[in-house]
């Protein structure tokens, strides 16, 4: 049945999560990079003639703090999302069990 096929393709058309999702993924990937790679990236710009230890140390601290704050934010986000998933699951279970009871009551009443 081509109409059913068409309807199913329409129903399962892809949805794009949007540019915010892209940005989050790229940010998460950047934070998840091994430390050696960002250090390597940092060191690749090293020019002995212009190197300032204090500046380098400050930059390194800022990168680490920024990365740490981002990681913490992502952890909190993750906990919140997990709590939300648990909540949705609990509500689904409760709602579905109530619906079963409701259906049975309706069937019983319909049979009266």
């Amino acid at each position: 049945m081509s109409r059913l096929d068409d309807a199913l393709r329409e129903a399962f058309r892809r949805q794009d999560p949007g540019p915010e999702f892209t940005a989050r993924v790229l940010a998460a990937a950047a934070v998840a990079q091994p430390k050696a790679s960002w250090w390597r990236t940092f060191a690749s710009g090293f020019r002995p003639a212009k190197f300032r230890w204090a500046t380098a140390a400050a930059l390194a601290c800022l990168l680490m703090i920024g990365g740490s704050l981002e990681y913490r934010r992502q952890q909190e986000d993750r906990q919140g999302r997990m709590a939300k998933q648990q909540l949705v699951l609990a509500l689904r279970i409760a709602g579905a069990k109530l619906n079963v009871a409701r259906e049975r009551v309706q069937q019983i009443n319909a049979g009266d």
Partner: protein, 176 residues
């Protein structure tokens, strides 16, 4: 026939008495092939609520339900075969729900599917202050405990959302 138990607990915010899971129920986790264990107190519910979007119809509905709640606790056990738990454990929970303040609203038995569902409510000043749903199936036991103010209509209206089939019953609905 052995039944899977689904226990839903709802505990009123004003009356101190809690409905506790008997030890026999907790031990069922060891025999279950699948266990769902949700424990969300007030703080976790508020955290979860922050991540519910008002722009999404499903999530907006959930946000509305959660606003008055102090806790949601769910335990669901799925077993490979029948007979893995005892009806006497269910009786221990029913005994607690016979305490003052609790009322048994609904009790339905489906001999065909082997599922028993009981719904208990606790009223606080004419509002539902808690909800317990006991559902027993041959291979599944579920306990849901909802603490706080909740509307049954709101909760059952979740049918059609979050992947819960919306059950519309017609008089001539029969299994093929």
């Amino acid at each position: 026939m052995k039944y899977a138990l689904v226990l839903l607990f709802a505990i009123g915010p004003l009356l101190a008495q809690d409905v506790k899971l008997p030890p026999g129920i907790e031990k069922l986790a060891a025999k279950a092939s699948e266990v769902v264990d949700v424990s969300l107190d007030g703080a976790m519910l508020r955290l979860a609520g922050r991540f519910l979007s008002s722009n999404d119809p499903d999530e907006a509905k959930a946000k509305n339900i959660v606003n008055g709640l102090k806790g949601i606790y769910v335990k669901s056990f799925e077993f490979e075969k029948e007979g893995e738990y005892s009806l006497s454990d269910l009786e221990e929970i029913r005994r607690q729900l016979r305490a003052p303040g609790w009322s048994r609203m609904v009790g339905v038995i489906s001999k065909k599917g082997g599922e028993n569902t009981e719904i208990y409510m606790r009223l606080d000043n004419d509002r539902i202050g808690g909800l317990v749903i006991l559902a027993a199936e041959p291979k599944e036991l579920t306990v849901v405990n909802i603490v706080g103010n909740i509307s049954l209509d709101d909760l059952s209206s979740l049918g059609g959302h979050f992947g819960i089939p919306d059950v519309e019953v017609r008089k001539d609905h029969k299994k093929p």
